[in-house]
């Protein structure tokens, strides 16, 4: 059986101020997977990825990359890793091309091999025309793409993307998704952290949710969504209403004069609700999910975990 791309066992991290960022997490990511690591701010996502990429020193536990224990041969493991961090971490005064080629040099790639590879990546990511310019002149989205090009220069088998589309506009985000899907199809295993749950739902096959340093869920996106018991739909009405109608078997709330919120339990048929709306004279012109499905699941899961551990149920930050 093939070694997992990433295997984490009992990983703990206690920072100097005594904060327990990771409390013994176990995680496996199979080769070829597109894996999402989700969690609220401060949950331990970046710490986990920081340990894997050597930016954070672990307190305990073990980490293997394609079967290579980082405590035994981190240098060898690093050849398989490409890292795109959350924050811009390149010299803003350097030329775009130099940033990518310098990174190739750090991996011991000869220039004759690095130059065509850099050209291919910069073209694929729409940065070729900017290659001679200073990195500080790039837009935020371009800087993110530059970090992706830099992370891929040595052809890593495992790419770690820590919120790669944060602050990127929708059009650009979707083009980055297409790029990520393509390299995943070509064989690169991808681990992604994101606050955009729509991103995780549409890109990833498997998912782990981390909260307060513990993994609270680790399953496939499909299985996770199957656990969703209730979905809420927002219905836009053709004419304003004073009160919400009463529907047999369904819960309906009035959001405002022209909008209702309809809760549908698993197993219920939307047709039944629409028949009752029609019978009562309500004309519905459009409908959409109140939140992304995964987002609903994520929020309920994290809040449930918080309640169980006796913590305050802080508002969970999500963006969609």
């Amino acid at each position: 059986m093939a070694e997992p791309a990433l295997s984490i066992r009992g990983l703990t991290k206690v920072y100097g101020n005594g904060f327990h960022a990771l409390k013994g997490i176990d995680l496996d990511v199979a080769e070829g997977d597109f894996f999402a690591l989700l969690g609220p701010n401060g949950a331990g996502k970046s710490t986990t990825l920081g340990v894997v990429s050597s930016l954070v020193q672990k307190t305990g536990g073990s980490v293997s990359v394609f079967g290579i224990d980082i405590d035994r041969d981190f240098a060898k493991a690093k050849y398989h890793l490409g890292v795109v961090p959350q924050e811009f971490n390149f010299n803003q005064f350097e030329k775009v091309e130099d940033i990518v080629l310098t990174q190739a040099g750090y991996y011991g790639m000869p220039m004759r091999e690095a130059k065509p590879r850099a050209e291919q990546l910069l073209r694929d990511l729409g940065l070729w025309d900017k290659r001679k310019g200073s990195a500080r002149m790039l837009s935020g989205g371009m800087k993110r793409r530059l970090m992706i090009a830099r992370a891929l220069i040595h052809r890593p088998r495992l790419l770690i993307l820590d919120e790669p589309t944060a602050g990127v506009d929708i059009e650009l985000r979707r083009s980055m998704w297409e790029f990520m899907k393509r390299i995943n199809r070509e064989g690169t295993t991808i681990i992604l952290t994101t606050h955009y749950l729509e991103e995780a739902e549409s890109l990833c096959r498997n998912i782990a949710i981390i909260n307060h340093g513990d993994i609270v869920q680790n399953t496939s996106v499909r299985d996770l969504l199957a656990q969703l018991n209730t979905e809420t739909f927002l219905l836009d009405l053709a004419r304003p209403v004073e009160t919400a109608p009463e529907l047999e078997g369904f819960s309906v709330e009035r959001v405002d004069a022209t909008q209702l919120a309809l809760s549908v339990e698993r197993g219920q048929r939307l047709n039944d609700a629409f028949e009752q709306f029609s019978a009562q004279g309500f004309e519905i012109v459009s409908m959409r999910n109140r939140a992304n499905r995964l987002e609903e699941m994520f929020v309920s899961m994290v809040e449930h975990a918080n309640a169980e551990s006796g913590r305050s149920t802080d508002k969970v930050e999500v963006r969609s």
Binding site: L55, L81, V83, N89, M109
Partner: protein, 257 residues
Amino acid sequence: MNAWQTWIALWTLVTKEVRRYMRIWPQTLLPPSITMTMYFIIFGNLIGSRIGPMDDIDYIDYIVPGLIMMAVITNSYSNVASSFFSNKFQRSVEEMMVSPMPNWVILAGFVVGGASRGLAVGLIVTVVSMFFTDLSIHHPWVTIGVVIMTALLFSIGGFINALVAHKFDDISIVPIFVLTPLTYLGGVFYSIHMLPAFWQGVSMVNPILYMVNAFRYGILGVSDIPVGGALVAIAVFIVVFFAVGLWMLDRGKGIRS
């Protein structure tokens, strides 16, 4: 990494460092040459002609080695301190940390890059000095050996300073409060034989005195201290400082949380 890959990584880091200070040459290469020209004009020509010979050598000739060494020391140190701290500040140090490049290559890359700036500035100052005096070198190998070793030593010092620094102020404290006083009191402008016995003794604990005098011996053939001992002392300091810098890097001091 195999030997060839390690060489590529080291070469990449060194050329990146050289490219950095060459790109901002009006900040890195030009100011020391202007400052040293002022020293030559004021201390060498204007005041020096009234001071008379020092150890039977014209005063301007006497101060040339010290001024070259002063430029080498301050530029080697400040190049690595500011460059590595900027890498920490901008987090571009992470580019190196996530790569398989061994820590000794990171340290050596910055040190060689910094030393190259120190030596480049030293060369510029030497050329400037030729406008004021005829320079002849008595012991070329000693001269070259001392200046290279000194540049390496202070580059390592700058690296350690940058590792422990938390803010930009922290990388200017050592040059201002330690290096500059020690350099001025290290016999750049005078022979320690001019001092009372007590202050001669105090001067002997100043490591920069040994470097300046060893370099002066290489150029002028005169020194206040035994040159062989000075060379050994500098070599020992290089080994010790390199080991300390590497130990700190291995433990992630100042760069890993």
